[in-house]
Symmetry: D2
């Protein structure tokens, strides 16, 4: 997590101030429940809220205390006592530090997930808008980087939309997985604290109850969460790579946005680099990598060891901040992407109509031509076109013209029959069907 | 995937025979739909089924053809034509190889997932049975490998149960994610094939329809699937590590099963090695590692490149076969695990009652003793016990005796008050609550 | 490791036959040393060699015994006794199974490394030959996928050569790291075996002595080995990605080889897919992924646990076989790569000379033009060229012509001065220097 | 990288101040070479040094400029011009930003490597000192966590020493790999800059010349560097895990240091948690994970894309700072480790002498007893001991006594012959040999 790739909306979730605020809320809600159960005086619980509810905790002061106590939760409780006064002795009764730390992490990850879900929603919105805009913008589909058959640019965006819609669903599941509350004491047995305290805090903090904890919340939950972020990051990379390809000089079917001002700023107008999507590619690598230590964190020893802690202090912020930044950046890239339909058509046409060779082949066989003859006929015309393309990168021989002029071909197919095989609409006739599936509208 | 760590139930899903059978079914169901739509003769569709439904495809023959055609699907179709006869020309119309390959992979992964879900069910069963059996078997809870407070062995198993119940849910979601059918042609536009064919094949093969494919099914689905297996493997590792710890010589609270015959077979009876769970630890590392190439597979170029293929040819079988083997092995380990309640009690008692020090501290403060004095009183008695433990690994001084004999302590607490703080039942009183949460019964 | 991506040269290293042969040699050499030290009779050592030196061990028989003994080394020794007779009782004296297993693994990995080093040598040879061939083949250098300034195709290959020369050096170091012999007994103390046995076996097997082993050879060695393979695989991926880019339809500056026969075989001559390099991309992902379980294998418990074993049974063959296959495939791709210098020039020229804009800018400022004015002058001409490129993918306005016709430009630079800035030789003048650095010749 | 796990020695290498200082030095040395070659005035080069050599660059000012220029190197150069004056126009001539950025990264990584090598040296020193101290401290060797045969604690440390000595060698190689200088211009052709400038800067900055760069230094070098850090981190984990095992309550053969003050601070004297080594375990996971994106950075597109940049901005500091912190922490742990030889002996003895069963078995067979009988004799005595151990965790039956009292055993072995098989010295007789190998002294 570095400022360059961070948004304050996400970093603020991980700030010491936010953390101490959550700690306070957990402790104060627990006090409410303890008071309700008669374990501590009701006045005490009320005082805790009254004295500290709107107070800004003094991070430096807490750090100062921690340097002495070597324990973050104790440092916080000491500072809280400075604010609350004698009633502070009723705080944290029967609880263990991990009750606070793990429940706090759950809150932070849930909030981070909410932000990320919001990010995806905005990305979906942008993808849908641009998909609708380019539903009928024909471009060549490429397998293996080689021209195959026509698609539309809207379809590409619809694919991304469907992928991120799946990612949204996965993230919602991962959020649910992570958002649990454990207030169960030293080894998770509730020996010193009533399970009803946990239930109350869970509800108050918007979490579900962890059915069985040890000292801590089990780490398979976190592993699943970070693995899910890794998958989402991989989808970010996919869209980024697509745009990088489309922007390369020889293709130039789309470009990351540059303002007219920017446009005029350079003596090298061709040097418009897809630096945002290249950056996203790198960020995706990072988010993906964090899934690995998260999975290694699962197998802690017995009721807990603390090896997960240093990992989470790093990847908690690093993974969520980086993915948040990446999703917002990707949304902006999609939103403002410069799309060049003419170049899409131009690139496809540069092959002189060869994308239709398959259809001609089919037409010939359907017209009674043997498979072997059909191949030969298509091939002899296709090769002329291809050879001319190979020389110059732009076919000077036209496939349609050649076919029309080939009397063997014409013995099977009329001019009209040939021409209709060059109809792009053949390829796009089901775009509406697909849009209907993806967006529920077309 | 190596025979040593494979079960035929899973490897058979990945056999060439199984694959060609699925390919046939996809093609034959597609032919049905094409016939229904009037694209091919109904007789042709029927003949395809009639001639090949019960035939065993000749894998060697197909391989032989592939060596010539350099194309696996064409090789299969050629062999199919040898079986079906002239009607074979109606097979595969308007389809692309990936339609067959990707839909087949979906079927294989779905079947693999079903097997894995069944594995988890059996594991859950074993965990539940042993958890119930040891619901009240007291053992010391350990944080950081150090004695903390009492738990029960049943609780440990309940934790594992809850974790694998979550894993089951994740796997069900991952299965749903992966189980889609794409019959959409060269670049996913349905240019040459009606979307209704896809719908028919999907239903017939027990899959859902892929809303939008390119040439292929998008690989975020597969990434999520293999990431989920990685998380499950990490949970396997967690249980394995727990057992390895419990079996180490100094702890010896549980052991992997050895038959009475085995028991007598060695001149070194102490050398009972937890080799099964060590093996599971290694297998977990492997399954986890496969998640990463799966995530790297997401960002294919444009409408597809084929870089994912070699990865999936490896990790498809490797990850599912290895995890299947691991789950079955773990179930067997749990099922037959030798549990030594006496040693659990013995280990806890070796510390001379120190696990109760926290409770005494609390009792003193509740009895009006200042926090500082309480600490001092507990500490001076605890240290004597600990020192005796430190010397010999088994306390020769008893904490309870010391406390009872300490008149400063006694000035706050009666003998009965002290004794009741040594009651183990205090720690286990909520075990039923937890079992109720985890199993819905206690 | 699957047959499709395997070469027998490498798989044979990992065959049971090869393994048992190495086991035998370790045991027989150890017997020699034991005999020399007077621990066992010299006749016994001689008999072991005489009876089994040229025997083919019966893998099925050994497997059969293992099914009973549940121990692979004992099964082998039992079978060896069947061959050698009573003298077999002198085999393995004072040794532990891991002495055999780990030393054998060292031999296998060293042999695998030798094969891989040979693979790299052949790849280097191919890269050098093609680099020399295309030392002066001008092509455009691209940063961010966008045209930058001219380079030569030979330079690209020289970069790959230098990278693989580094990889060779790394692999030699990794081989040295892995090639150690441990014959040190149950916990590495030589309690039951003289260290001189280890020294003898090490020398006889072409290994160095492991200075200190536990029961096993420390796994940091293996981690380093597999990490090195991961780096080499990443370099394979780099070259593969370069070729995939060069082969894409719009670029088409190079292509994987296809025979003239192949050329004529298709009705879609443009569908020449870079499937070999796509395949290499996927294989690289796999080899890379194996580094992680290898690193996780380092932290075994105490003097050893056996969790590394299942990992190594998989990644030992998988990583070496896959990388071997990849290197050989890459060598073949490089060797036969179709290179299209005309298309390289054509693609560069399609931008109408804009690659020279930087030089003109510099020339203007050197001629006394202010930086701001120089920018303005270059830009107004460059934009015309670019706009024409943007429309059609091939500039119809020529940068040189525009500059020559711009009287403000001409007030600073003569025609000759302008023309000489369009000289490609300016960019290639140091190619010999670089080749000298890389190849020691130019 | 978070403050909690950072040392200023390492973070300062990555500070903006340090970075700009290195940038300045690269530019100023390049100016010297350019002046020497007559490309720029010698006065200019001198002025650059004179005006800026001792200046502290104003990071905030540079950031301010970057917010306008959106380019970090240009922002720096602009600020440099504010300091140097008009001669600043001679700075950076013919260079590209990456020349500065990549050479700077090389300097930073080399410095980081130097610090890490120094860290390892201190760790080696501590390991050697403690190894010598405990060369003869007998403890039980454990395979699979189960008692095997005696070793010494010094041997364990010698193993760690040998492992980190290897890691040092690997790091030296990785440092060499990374420490190269590239001043080769826009696409690495030296079109606008003489290769002698690169040579001069390389020498002045303590780097070697990059034989062939594109726009950038090839990323296989960085991949190897970070993979090496990952292996070293795995070794850190290994030692950490060993200590965590030794500190667990039932073993307690060693403990992380706690001051006498700390000792008295708790009412739970047994709760001495190995939090430092648990922390190291987590940090190792992080450092290891960074190797993955570093490997993915290798396959950049053509002459470069900028996807590696965001990765390196993160892992450059994160990996080196975290590993530095971990090595220093580990050194401190080793340096002050509390070692309990009595407990080592005590744990071994708790098995009542069973660790010697193997030797007795051998003695019996050597005395003419058949293998089967020897097994039976050893076993019937061993089982009595083991059973007594199993009950209480401390054998109440003594193996030696039993053997002496077994008249069948005695028919083969005299009391003295039996007693001498219980001699620990048998197991430690080669410790000096091993120490000689590892330390060159014993």
């Amino acid at each position: 997590m570095i400022p360059r790739y961070s948004r304050s909306e996400m970093t603020s979730i991980w700030s010491p101030e936010a953390k101490f605020r959550i700690w306070f809320e957990i402790e104060a809600h627990a006090a409410d429940a303890l008071a309700e159960l008669g374990v501590i005086p009701k006045d005490a619980a009320r005082t805790i809220w009254d004295k500290a509810k709107t107070v800004e905790f003094d991070v430096e002061r807490i750090d100062e205390i921690e340097r002495v106590t070597k324990h973050d939760v104790i440092a916080f409780l000491t500072h809280l006592a400075e604010i609350v006064g004698p009633e502070a002795r009723f705080v944290h009764q029967g609880m263990t530090s991990s009750d606070v730390l793990d429940t706090c992490l759950a809150v932070q990850l849930a909030r981070a997930a909410d932000l990320l879900i919001g990010d995806i929603d905005k990305l979906l919105e942008a993808l849908k808008r641009r998909a609708m805009e380019h539903k009928d913008t024909v471009t060549v589909g490429r397998s293996h980087g080689i021209h195959a058959e026509p698609v539309t640019f809207g379809l590409k965006l619809a694919e991304a939309y469907a992928e991120f819609a799946r990612n949204r669903e996965r993230l919602v599941a991962a959020r649910k997985d992570i958002a649990t509350c454990a207030i169960s004491g030293a080894v998770g047995t509730f020996a010193n604290i009533d399970p009803r305290v946990e239930e109350h805090v869970a509800q108050a903090m918007g979490l579900s109850v962890e059915p069985v904890s040890t000292q801590i919340i089990p780490r398979d939950r976190h592993a699943m969460f970070f693995a899910t972020l890794g998958v989402i990051a991989s989808s970010v990379e996919r869209v980024a790579i697509e745009i990088r390809h489309l922007q390369r000089t020889e293709v130039l079917e789309a470009e990351e946005y540059f303002s007219p001002g920017q446009k005029g700023s350079s003596a090298m107008p061709h040097k418009r680099n897809p630096v945002l999507t290249e950056n996203l590619t790198g960020l995706a690598r990072m988010v993906r990598s964090y899934a690995f230590p998260a999975m290694e964190n699962v197998a802690l020893w017995h009721e807990r060891d603390i090896s997960h802690s240093s990992v989470e202090r790093m990847i908690g912020p690093d993974a969520t901040v980086t993915l948040d930044f990446a999703l917002v950046r990707l949304t902006s890239v999609i939103d403002k992407l410069l799309v060049y339909p003419e170049r899409m058509k131009g690139n496809m046409d540069r092959l002189g109509g060869l994308v239709h060779s398959q259809r001609i082949l089919l037409a010939l066989t359907q017209a009674g031509c043997s498979r072997e003859d059909a191949y030969r006929l298509v091939q002899r015309n296709a090769m002329k076109v291809w050879d001319s393309y190979h020389v110059s990168g732009s076919a000077t021989v036209d496939f349609l013209e050649e076919l029309l002029a080939d009397k063997d071909v014409r013995s099977y197919l009329s001019e009209e029959e040939i021409r209709e095989r060059f109809d792009i609409a053949y390829h796009t006739k089901h775009v509406d069907t697909i849009f209907q599936r993806v967006f529920g509208e077309a």
